[in-house]
C-alpha cells in the first residue's frame, strides 16, 4: 500500500541522515544546530519537488502550485482519532499567529507577531535558536502585527517585516546575513506575507491597500539582496474598459459618466491606488511564470477619487518569472468600493474547461465567497463556484449612513489559503459570515495615514459564523459544507491520508474526512487556531503542526503555542 511506501521513504532518509555524521558532538558544534548536519541545505531541486516530499514542508503553501496537499498518509481517516500532541512550544510573543511552519530535515522554522523567528527541533520541540527583529519606529498594519512565515533556500531563510524590510538569516544560527528596505514604511508599506524563493529569486509583495500605497511584487537576489525586478500591481494606465459588471455578471452600479468627469479632472490615480499583493504567488516552473492576486484599491470605500477600473486591483495576475513582465490578468471586481479584495493565494492544478477538456488551471477563492476557476494560459475565467456564504444586496453602494451588504468586508474567504485534493477534484476553503454596513466619506490622500474613505462596521445584533466548504472545481458545485461557530480565518491543509485539517477562533483544531466532511477528530488548543497547518515526517513518524495564537483582526483569544501532533503509540 502507498501508506507503507511513504513511511519507508521517511525512514530511509532519516537513516541516511544518521549515517552522514556520527554522534552528538557534531550537533554541539553548531551550538545546538540541526541534528541532521549538512542536510539543512535546501536545493532548488528539493523546492521544485516539494509536492511529492513526504518528509519536509518547504513552502508556505506546500509546493510551488500552492496545493497545500501533503503526500504522506501515515495519519489517515482510520487512525486520526489517535492523534495526540507530541510537543507544544511556547514562543515569547503572545499575539496573533498566522505563521506556517516550514520543516527541513527535522528542523522547523516558525515566526510570531512582531517578527520573531524560532528554529525548533521538529521531533522534540526543543529550541535551536531565536531571532528577534530590531523593529524600526514605524510599522504599519491594518489587521494585526502579523507574520505568515519564512521562505527557505540554500543555507538561508527569508522574512519580510512590519517595517517593510526583507531579511536573510542563516538557517543554522539565526544570524542576520543581510537586510533590505523594500519600501517606505512612513507611506504605509509593510510586510506580513512569507516570501517565496525560486531560481535564486526571493519574491515578495506588499501590504498597504488601506494606506494608498502603490502595490507591487519585487524579486530580490537571494545571495546579495539586490533588487532584480519590480512589477507594479497598479498599472500606469489603470482605467481599463469601464466594466459595469463583476466576474459573475452582476451590475456594480457604477456611475461611469461621473467617473469619466473625475478622470478628466484628477488624472489617472495609479500612484496611490493600493492593490497590495500580500500572499504568495504560485509558480509554474515549466513556463517560467508566476500567478498572484492583487488586493483592493485605495481608498477602500470611496471610488470618487479613483475613476476607472483601477487595474490591476482585485485581479489575478500572471507575470514572467525572469523579468517581472506582465503576461495576463483577470479582474474580479472593477472599481471595488467594498474592500472585497483578491488575497487568498492562487493554486495551480489541472481543471476541466467548459468543453470537458483538461487544461492547466488556476483557482482562487474570493472574499465574495466564490471559488474562481481560470485558464492558466490567458488568465480567463472558466467558471465560478456556487456562493459558499450568503450574499445579499450585492452590489449596493456604500452610503453616508451605512449600507448593509453580505458578505462583509472580511469575506467570504479572507487571506486564508485553500488546499486541494486533486484526486477528488475538490478545493477546500474556509469562510466568514460577518454582516457589515459600508459607510463612505470622501477624504483626500492623507500621505501615509489610514485611508479608508469611510468605515466598515460589524452589525452588533446579527449572528456571525463560518464554514469549511469543499468545492468541486471541475463543476463549481459545492460538495460538502460544515458550519462553524465563528467566522473562519487561518488556512487549511489536505493530506493523502484522506483528511483536511483546519482550526477555529474558539481554539478548536479539527480533522475532517476530505471526501465527506465528517468531523473525525478535534483538539482544544486553548487559543484561537487561526494559522495554516503543515505536516512533516521525522524518523518515520508523521506530524501535523499548527500555531495557536489567536487573531487580531477578528479578536480571537491570543496565545503563543506551536503544537505538533502525532499518532499515539
Amino acid at each position: 500500500m502507498r501508506k507503507k511506501s511513504v513511511t519507508g521513504l521517511a525512514t530511509s532518509v532519516a537513516f541516511a541522515a544518521l549515517l552522514s555524521f556520527t554522534g552528538s558532538a557534531v550537533a554541539e558544534e553548531v551550538s545546538g544546530g540541526t541534528t541532521y548536519g549538512d542536510m539543512s541545505l535546501v536545493t532548488q531541486d528539493m523546492l521544485t519537488r516539494a509536492g511529492g516530499d513526504g518528509n519536509n514542508f518547504l513552502h508556505t503553501n506546500g509546493n510551488y502550485a500552492q496545493t497545500r496537499y501533503y503526500p504522506a498518509r501515515q495519519i489517515n481517516t482510520s487512525n486520526v482519532n489517535k492523534l495526540r500532541p507530541a510537543w507544544i512550544f511556547q514562543t515569547e510573543v503572545v499575539e496573533t499567529m498566522e505563521t506556517t511552519p516550514i520543516v527541513v530535515n527535522g528542523v522547523m522554522y516558525v515566526t510570531t507577531a512582531f517578527n520573531h523567528v524560532y528554529a525548533l527541533d521538529a521531533k522534540t520541540g526543543k529550541q535551536i535558536w531565536h531571532f528577534k527583529h530590531k523593529m524600526g519606529p514605524i510599522t504599519t498594519y491594518c489587521c494585526g502585527p502579523n507574520n505568515r512565515g519564512v521562505a527557505i533556500y540554500g543555507d538561508r531563510i527569508f522574512m519580510g517585516t512590519l517595517d517593510a524590510k526583507l531579511l536573510a538569516l542563516d538557517t543554522k544560527t539565526g544570524k542576520l546575513l543581510w537586510e533590505k528596505q523594500i519600501a517606505n514604511p512612513e507611506l504605509g508599506y509593510s510586510e506580513t506575507m512569507a516570501p517565496s524563493v525560486v531560481n535564486g529569486k526571493v519574491l515578495i509583495g506588499t501590504n498597504g491597500g488601506e494606506y494608498g500605497v502603490r502595490g507591487f511584487v519585487k524579486a530580490f537576489d537571494w545571495k546579495s539582496g539586490d533588487l532584480l525586478w519590480t512589477f507594479h500591481s497598479t498599472a500606469e494606465n489603470s482605467v481599463g474598459v469601464w466594466a459595469t459588471h463583476d466576474a459573475t455578471g452582476r451590475d456594480m452600479l457604477r456611475d461611469i459618466e461621473a467617473e469619466k468627469a473625475a478622470l478628466a479632472k484628477l488624472g489617472d490615480p495609479y500612484k496611490t491606488l493600493g492593490g497590495g499583493v500580500w500572499q504568495n504567488p504560485a509558480v509554474d516552473l515549466d513556463k517560467n511564470r508566476i500567478y498572484f492576486v492583487a488586493g483592493n484599491p485605495s481608498p477602500d470605500l470611496d471610488g470618487s477619487l479613483r475613476p476607472g477600473d483601477n487595474l490591476y486591483t482585485n485581479s489575478l495576475i500572471s507575470v514572467d518569472l525572469e523579468t517581472g513582465k506582465y503576461i495576463c490578468h483577470f479582474q474580479y471586481i472593477a472599481h471595488d468600493v467594498w474592500d472585497l479584495d483578491a488575497v487568498s493565494p492562487p493554486i495551480l492544478t489541472k481543471v476541466k474547461d467548459n468543453d470537458g477538456n483538461t487544461v492547466d488551471g488556476v483557482l482562487h477563492a474570493g472574499k465574495t465567497g466564490h471559488v474562481y476557476v481560470h485558464k492558466a494560459d490567458d488568465c480567463s475565467l472558466i467558471r465560478y463556484s456556487e456562493a459558499m456564504v450568503p450574499q445579499e444586496n450585492m452590489w449596493v453602494l456604500p452610503t453616508k449612513e451605512g449600507a448593509r451588504m453580505l458578505p462583509g468586508a472580511n469575506g467570504g474567504v479572507e487571506w486564508s489559503p485553500m488546499a486541494i485534493d486533486a484526486s477528488l477534484g475538490l478545493t477546500y476553503a474556509i469562510n466568514l459570515h460577518q454582516p457589515m454596513t459600508y459607510h463612505v466619506e470622501s477624504t483626500p490622500y492623507p500621505e501615509g495615514k489610514l485611508w479608508l474613505g469611510g468605515a466598515f462596521k460589524v452589525i452588533p445584533g446579527e449572528q456571525q459564523w463560518g464554514n469549511v466548504t469543499a468545492v468541486d472545481y471541475h463543476t463549481g458545485k459545492i460538495r460538502w459544507k460544515v458550519k462553524t461557530e465563528q467566522p473562519m480565518i487561518g488556512g487549511i491543509l489536505a493530506t493523502a491520508g484522506g483528511l483536511v485539517f483546519t482550526g477555529e477562533g474558539n481554539g478548536q483544531f479539527k480533522a475532517y474526512d476530505s471526501e465527506t466532511g465528517s468531523e473525525l477528530w478535534r483538539f482544544q488548543a486553548g487559543a484561537g487556531v487561526n494559522a495554516p497547518p503543515s505536516s512533516y515526517t521525522v524518523d518515520g513518524k508523521q506530524y501535523i503542526v499548527v500555531a495557536a495564537g489567536g487573531n487580531t483582526q477578528l479578536n480571537y483569544k491570543r496565545g503563543n503555542n506551536i503544537i505538533a501532533f502525532t499518532l499515539a503509540d
Binding site: I138, G144, Q181, T443, F456
Partner: protein
C-alpha cells in the same frame, strides 16, 4: 523630580534605528530641558496629568506622539493650547520630545469603569473593529496610540472632535466616529479608560 534629559537610552534608540532618513529621529538630538518642563507642567511630572482633560503621553508610542506634534504644527489637529506650544518646535525637537516621553512608564490611573457603561462601550468598539488596529488590550503600536488607561474626559473629547472634524488628522477615524452616537462614544471612553 525631573528626569535627566540626556538619558543614554534615548541616544541608543536613536542610533539603532535605520532606514528612510525622513522618518528617523535625526542624530542624537538633545532633549530640550526647558521644553520638557513645559510639557510636564500639563502632562504631569510623573506622567499623570493634573487635569484629566489633558492626555497621558508618558509611555505612548514614539511615532504616534511625533505625528501628533507635527500635525498640531501643520494645523491638521486643531487645539489652541497645543498649537501654541508646538509653534516654535523644530522637527528635531519634536522627535526628541516624542522619544523622551515614549520611553517613560505609562502611569497607573485610579479610574474604574462602571460595568454597564463598559459593556456597552465594548460592544460599540467591537462593531468598529477597533482592536484590529489598536490591538488586543488596546495597547497600540507605532502609529496607533495606546488607549487603555487613558483619561475619560480626553478620550471622549478627542473622539467627539474626530466626529465633528475639529480633529482632522486621521480621516478614517472621523468616518468611523460619525457612525456613533455621542452616548456610544462616552461609553467607549469609559470602557477604554477602565482597561
Amino acid at each position: 523630580m525631573l528626569e535627566n534629559p540626556r538619558r543614554f537610552v534615548i541616544a541608543m534608540s536613536l542610533a539603532t534605528t535605520a532606514g528612510f532618513a525622513s522618518l528617523i529621529p535625526a542624530g542624537a538630538d538633545e532633549v530640550p530641558q526647558d521644553k520638557i518642563e513645559l510639557c510636564t507642567s500639563c502632562h504631569g511630572e510623573a506622567g499623570l496629568p493634573p487635569q484629566p482633560e489633558v492626555p497621558i503621553i508618558w509611555g505612548q508610542h514614539f511615532y504616534y506622539l511625533y505625528v501628533q506634534l507635527r500635525d498640531y504644527k501643520a494645523g491638521r489637529r486643531a487645539n489652541e493650547v497645543m498649537q501654541g506650544i508646538v509653534e516654535d518646535l523644530s522637527k528635531a525637537d519634536m522627535k526628541a520630545l516624542a522619544t523622551h516621553f515614549s520611553e517613560k512608564q505609562w502611569p497607573e490611573t485610579s479610574y474604574r469603569s462602571e460595568a454597564t457603561a463598559a459593556a456597552k462601550g465594548e460592544t460599540a468598539a467591537s462593531a468598529g473593529q477597533c482592536p484590529q488596529c489598536h490591538l488586543g488590550g488596546y495597547e497600540g503600536n507605532s502609529r496607533v496610540p495606546r488607549l487603555n488607561g487613558q483619561t475619560v474626559p480626553y478620550l471622549t473629547r478627542t473622539m467627539l472632535e474626530f466626529k465633528t472634524k475639529v480633529r482632522r488628522n486621521s480621516p478614517a477615524k472621523s468616518s468611523l466616529m460619525v457612525s456613533y452616537s455621542d452616548e456610544d462614544i462616552e461609553n467607549m471612553a469609559k470602557y477604554l479608560a477602565g482597561l
